[in-house]
């Protein structure tokens, strides 16, 4: 404990200079905006800022503080468009649309933003503490996860998809299969040969989930808007009265926040799982704990808090394997890892010993960034709510245009823009058929990883499927997955499904 305090004071000693504080504030602000823009996620936000960081001539500590502040800021910011527009600002914020948007539609946009902002703070704060206290010990967890274990983990995620975002399990399953199918496009992970690309080089890397998100959510929303001749659409939300902090409601989510912090953090620590899996698992966990009475999906506080705590805790957790092993736990940490290497810092088991100044000033600045973000996202929440007063006829095309610019800036190719429109059409058709779009994205996001792990497991075992049950971890996860898939089918007759999901 004395060690921890000494280390933290070393960190705060570096991080609390006016200059680095300024960097943290700038980073938080840019990050929140980047996160809120559909089409730009934390990974892209950080990647775009890298050249600027280098041209500013920042030292290692300064660069890291700026970029991690953007990272945390983007994790906060992603929820804003989820709640206000039903369009996730980035992929981890996808689950926040499920309860955040219904709550906003019920006239409580301000409450939804405050609750989620507070939840983001709790998740990120506890995860940063976890990072400070547990990082060296937790790094060993990665050694316990081989292909079979990862496959079981992803299988669990997919098998519990059925109950999500839809009252019809078959439709959710169909949607996730569609996502997995789309994930197959690109280079075959084992042979490196192209599959279903039609010889088009743009498809070799597969389809970016940001392209899919913007298409399925933002563009399809515009189509609906056109169809209704501008009368309805996502932006038909009225804000009543002034924004207050719903303390009592936040208090009811206290256990949710603590549970989800732990689960989200662990999801983040596992390399390859990342923030999306964190927010997904925490939402599903809380939904099943709350049961039917919890009314998840109708705009309840716990349904907003759970995914936000989960994805922010996972963001902190993902820094553990990055710093201690050099293995990135998410797309954004992969970019941060690259920055570290470029700054001549070698992440790995010895980083905490050899470069305590870098590690502890990073942790200290994360704690600082968190408080800055809380201030930006709760008292200043009105700024974001005011967006709703822009007439939908301007807002919807505006958001879509900005997302197009965001997508174009990533790859610099018109091809992705065509894909966005295609996904928009797909999203429109799916929603007309009442098929949820969230599982499609999860399928794209996790499908290729799951395939890769399964095929690696088969290479290692020479095609012996019992290898998947060769460890306790994988066996437990697979059994949980099977139970999670089958049980709801048998229970369907007995439980009523009262809620209708307004999408």
């Amino acid at each position: 404990m004395a060690d921890l305090l000494a280390n933290l004071s070393l960190g705060f000693g570096i991080a609390l200079s006016p200059y680095t504080l300024l960097l943290a504030i700038i980073g938080c602000f840019i990050g929140t905006i980047v996160g809120a823009l559909p089409g730009l996620g934390p990974a892209n936000g950080v990647a775009i800022m890298i050249p600027i960081t280098f041209s500013m001539g920042l030292d290692a500590t300064g660069a890291l503080i700026l970029l991690t502040a953007i990272y945390y800021g983007a994790m906060y910011g992603g929820r804003i468009s989820s709640i206000l527009l039903n369009i996730p600002g980035d992929e981890p914020a996808m689950m926040t649309t499920l309860d955040g948007y219904p709550m906003a539609k019920a006239g409580r946009a301000g409450d939804a933003l405050v609750i989620s902002g507070f939840a983001s703070f709790v998740g990120a704060f506890l995860a940063t503490l976890g990072l400070a206290v547990l990082a060296p010990a937790l790094s060993r967890i990665a050694y316990e996860f081989g292909p079979a274990e990862y496959f079981a983990l992803y299988l669990l995620a997919f098998c519990t998809l059925g109950g999500i975002a839809s009252n019809n399990q078959a439709k959710a399953a169909l949607a996730s299969c569609l996502g997995i199918g789309i994930a197959m496009i690109g280079l075959d992970p084992n042979s490196g040969l192209p599959r279903m690309t039609g010889g088009n080089l743009h498809l070799y890397d597969g389809i970016d989930f940001l392209v899919a998100i913007v298409g399925l959510f933002a563009v399809s929303e515009v189509f609906f808007f056109i169809e209704s001749k501008g009368k309805s659409g996502a932006a038909g939300i009225k804000l009543r009265g002034r924004v207050t902090v719903p303390w009592a409601e936040i208090w009811t989510t206290r256990w949710t926040m603590i549970r989800c912090s732990v689960v989200g953090f662990i999801a983040g620590v596992l390399p390859g799982a990342g923030a999306s899996l964190g927010s997904f698992m925490t939402y599903m966990m809380e939904k099943s704990i709350a049961g039917e009475k919890g009314k998840f999906g109708t705009g309840v506080a716990k349904g907003i808090a759970a995914p936000e705590v989960g994805n922010n805790a996972a963001a902190g957790g993902a820094l553990v394997p990055m710093l201690t092993l050099g293995v990135p736990g998410s797309g954004t940490t992969a970019v941060l890892l690259a920055v570290l290497v470029t700054l001549n810092i070698t992440p790995g088991p010895t980083l905490f010993v050899e470069r305590p100044d870098v590690v502890w000033s990073l942790i200290a600045s994360l704690l600082i960034a968190n408080f800055v973000l809380l201030a930006m996202n709760v008292p200043m929440v009105k700024v974001f709510v005011k967006v709703l007063e822009v007439p939908p006829a301007i807002l919807m095309p505006g958001v879509t245009m900005v997302s197009f610019v965001g997508i174009y800036s990533l790859t610099g190719s018109y091809f992705d823009l065509l894909l966005v429109v295609l996904f928009g059409v797909l999203g429109y058709v799916l929603r007309k058929l009442d098929i949820p779009t969230v599982p499609v994205i999860l399928g794209i996001l996790l499908g290729s990883k799951m395939e890769k792990q399964l095929r690696d497991a088969m290479v290692l075992s020479d095609g012996d499927w019992t290898y998947l049950f060769s460890s306790t971890i994988s066996s437990v996860l697979i059994v949980a997955a099977i139970v999670g898939f089958i049980l709801p089918i048998f229970l369907r007759g007995r439980i009523r499904k009262p809620q209708r999901i307004s999408d």
């Binding site: 890397d205 293995v327 970019v335």
Partner: protein, 321 residues
């Protein structure tokens, strides 16, 4: 208030656009920020400016896609005579070209102008592994090819996969399609899988393992250079253990095909100057790179040889027909 947000949105968009605007000299890193190509562009660009080889800071553009194939086809099709463009390249570039992984593009569509360092290939096992030397590992595979699975940071058929195959070929083992290999997300991940006991050996680059050497979790069986690597003198080479193999992941540049010969020679001189600079020596030492300087026509000839060799090996393991 909505104006404030719109302004913020537009400034974010402007930021995104200015980040890719052009300066005098441009270096394309054919991958997202991170990893070898990005490192090469940023370091070389910075040093070129610092030592006065270029007047303005070098603009680094990340053009990720198709494992470098998108950047390659962009250069060939759209910027084939741009005199102020260089593109970061490495062994992965020539491996993929040799395996026709760039959609029909071939190595002779650009000019390989120089390598200024190399990441030596290594083969690593966990500290508690029964294999004490490269010979032990090769013997085990000869006795039962299924007993050893390798993990590496490249896809099947990639450079990390080819390294152990080259060793086995040198040892007279020809049944190389039987050797197990999984490609994971980079060298650190490959080490994690190996230390965790899921695979028996890791094949990768020196820079990927330097952070793990002091922990005592791993044992480096061999480095695939002619001489032992400065700073890592206690790691034996494959050659001294009786396997005549050299596998280094060189770091360098290619330039468009249709630039003038004078321009090509000038690029070579500039890269030579970078290679000799104290800054680059330091950057190499910090990142586990070994000296490996080869520029101009000499480098082009060497690359041609490597491409031919890779093609033959790839054909044998069935990665290409």
């Amino acid at each position: 208030m909505s104006k404030t947000l719109l302004r913020a949105l537009s400034s974010a968009a402007v930021l995104a656009v200015t980040a890719t605007s052009a300066f005098a000299i441009e270096c394309i890193a054919p991958a997202n920020p991170g990893g070898g190509w990005d490192f090469t562009c940023r370091q070389v660009g910075k040093i070129m400016y610092d030592i006065g080889q270029v007047a303005d800071p070098v603009q680094v553009t990340n053009l990720a896609g198709a494992g470098g194939g998108l950047a390659f086809s962009t250069v060939v099709n759209e910027r084939n005579s741009d005199p102020d463009l260089m593109v970061a390249a490495s062994s992965a570039t020539t491996t993929r070209l040799a395996q026709n992984a760039f959609g029909g593009a071939t190595a002779d569509q650009v000019r390989f102008v120089g390598a200024i360092g190399a990441d030596p290939g290594v083969i690593v096992v966990a500290a508690d592994s029964p294999y004490q030397s490269l010979g032990d590992l090769v013997d085990a595979i000869k006795a039962d090819p299924g007993s050893v699975a390798f993990a590496g940071g490249s896809a099947v058929g990639g450079f990390d996969h080819l390294k152990p195959l080259q060793v086995l070929k040198a040892a007279g083992f020809d049944d190389i399609t039987k050797v197990r290999y999984i490609g994971v997300d980079g060298g650190a991940d490959a080490i994690t899988q190996t230390v965790g006991g899921f695979t028996q050996a890791m094949t990768g680059d020196m820079s990927e393992i330097v952070g793990f050497i002091p922990t005592g979790d791993i044992r480096v069986l061999a480095v695939m250079t002619d001489e032992r690597v400065p700073g890592f003198e206690d790691i034996p080479t494959a050659k001294e253990q009786g396997f005549d193999v050299r596998a280094v992941n060189w770091r360098g540049m290619y330039v468009p095909k249709d630039i003038s010969d004078e321009r090509f020679q000038k690029w070579a001189v500039m890269l030579q100057a970078v290679a000799e600079s104290a800054e680059w020596q330091q950057a190499m030492a910090d990142n586990g790179l070994a000296p490996f300087t080869l520029v101009g026509d000499e480098f082009q000839a060497w690359v041609d040889g490597v491409v031919a060799e890779t093609e033959a090996l790839s054909r044998e393991i069935g990665v290409i027909q």
